[in-house]
Amino acid sequence: MRLMMHSNMPWASTGYGVQVATFAPRWRQMLGHDVALTSIYGLQGGMLTWNGIPCYPAGFEGLSQDVLPQHADHFKADLILTLFDAWVLNPDMIQARGHRWVPWFPIDSEPIPAAVLRQVEKAWQPVVFSRFGERMARDAGLDVRYVPHGIDTTVYRPVADRAAERAQRTFPEDRFVVGIVAANKGFPSRKSWPEMLEAFARLHRRHPEAMLYLHTFVGTEMTGVNIAEYVDHLGIPAEAVRVCEQYQNTIGFPPEWMAGMFSSLDVLMNVAMGEGFGVPPVEAQACGTPVVLGDWTAMSELCLDGWLVPKDEADRWWTPQAAYQFKPRVGAIEAALEEAFDDWSAGRMTDERRRDTAAKVAARYDADMVTREFWGPFFDECAERIHAEAAGDLPPVEVAA
């Protein structure tokens, strides 16, 4: 088949961009499909070829939906896949020339927001990337398929020399390092930055050997929390905090560096108000690092080694999209961090445990496996449906005496 993926470009260091970079080459190389990419973000002004895959530029409408059908005509696409928040997409624009729209989209609140449902129910075949999303969609009567996000477990795996990786990041061996790898964007903070920072502050007051690593923009440039000021306000001493290099964060960290960083952490904290998937917790666990997550939305299914903040320890919050997300209570996050600290101080975070965690993640989310077990059958199903829909157009039988 000829597959056109409309999303962020594969070189963009965004969650969506990384997934495009992960799967587009595999669709081509492992499944034998012809693939093209179109840009919501990451390419303007002309076409490029990336790893043998043609990349079409953005249009004039904010999400490039004005040029998407023409791009699909030009490429002769059988399917237009989108990897983006569905509620901002316009099915009428995407399908204006009769193309088949396959949104691969997040559901990060409960129930499925009406604004999301209204868009994806017009799609040819919607696809979600969490079992939670699948459940929410089916509860609303939507016929969806499930294909999870994936990671390259040849890169995201426990490093050979963890001590060296920690030293590179100035994480002393005798400190308990809590990491947060999350976008700092919007109010209220979907990633629960204020709650997570306050929980760490409380942990640190009891256990000064705790350290915090922040992989994010710590200022308000993305309309997020003023993390630098808040950390100071909470009384977390500067010596207990490490922040990723801010300019490097703009141009992107190489995956190998990220794997080294995840391997260096003692626990990753990601108690968001809602997650459509949650790639950093999966990447962290693939490197053997346990996680603290919330037991709601997609996070529940991502915790293969770690601690889930109970749902009844979070307050429902009715979002502008008209569905619930969950605001975790600081004390509950603190309690989970305390349990993680206990494991660390008791020597239970062993190399063997890290290897076991990594193996569990690989079995569920390895990109090659996801391609083989989920994308392959899904595209087969699409191909058969397209054949069936075109049954009236099949070539006539030829008889030659």
Binding site: L31, P395, V399, A400
Partner: protein, 206 residues
Amino acid sequence: MIAVVIPTIRGREALYERTVAAYRACGSEVTIITVRDRPTIGQAWGDGADAALNVEGVEFIHLSADDVEPHPGALEAAAEAVRFGIYPSPRIVNVDGSLHSCGTMGGGMLLPECGNDTVCGTSPFPFMRHEMWTAIRPCPRIGYYADDWLAWAVREQGLEVRVSRGYTLTHLEGTVGRDRVVRRSGADRAAFLQAVADRALSPVEA
């Protein structure tokens, strides 16, 4: 006359042309029925066999592929077996002359060299009277196991499936464009078994 049904898809033109030339040269009177771009061989065989019913003078229907060469006299040997109430399972050789199979038990279980008239399970390249096709049609629209279903259906009609050594074919082993077909074998197996069950249900059970 023998109607030879040849399914083919884009990308396999060279194999197809070689196959057609071989059938033309095999010494039997044939009508070539080409069925292009069907999603499964079950559907392609079905469409082709249905078309054969409308061709005047057709006595036998042979469901073939686009990567097969019949040996001289092969189709006559198959026709002779059919005249004796047999559903012939061919002896198949590879391009290098080595044996691919001498009949098959179905489900991918290929027989080694064995004697003529050995009772077996199925025929990868069905050969039957056109009246038989009328009796058993339609074929499930599956890829793998379509041949197994057809063998089951003709056994239901009272035929025996036996090896016909004279019905010898060379399989060119064309894998171009078949990745998707290979991946769906599990689903086809389930569909084959369900198709047998659907047809086998008695009216009361149904």
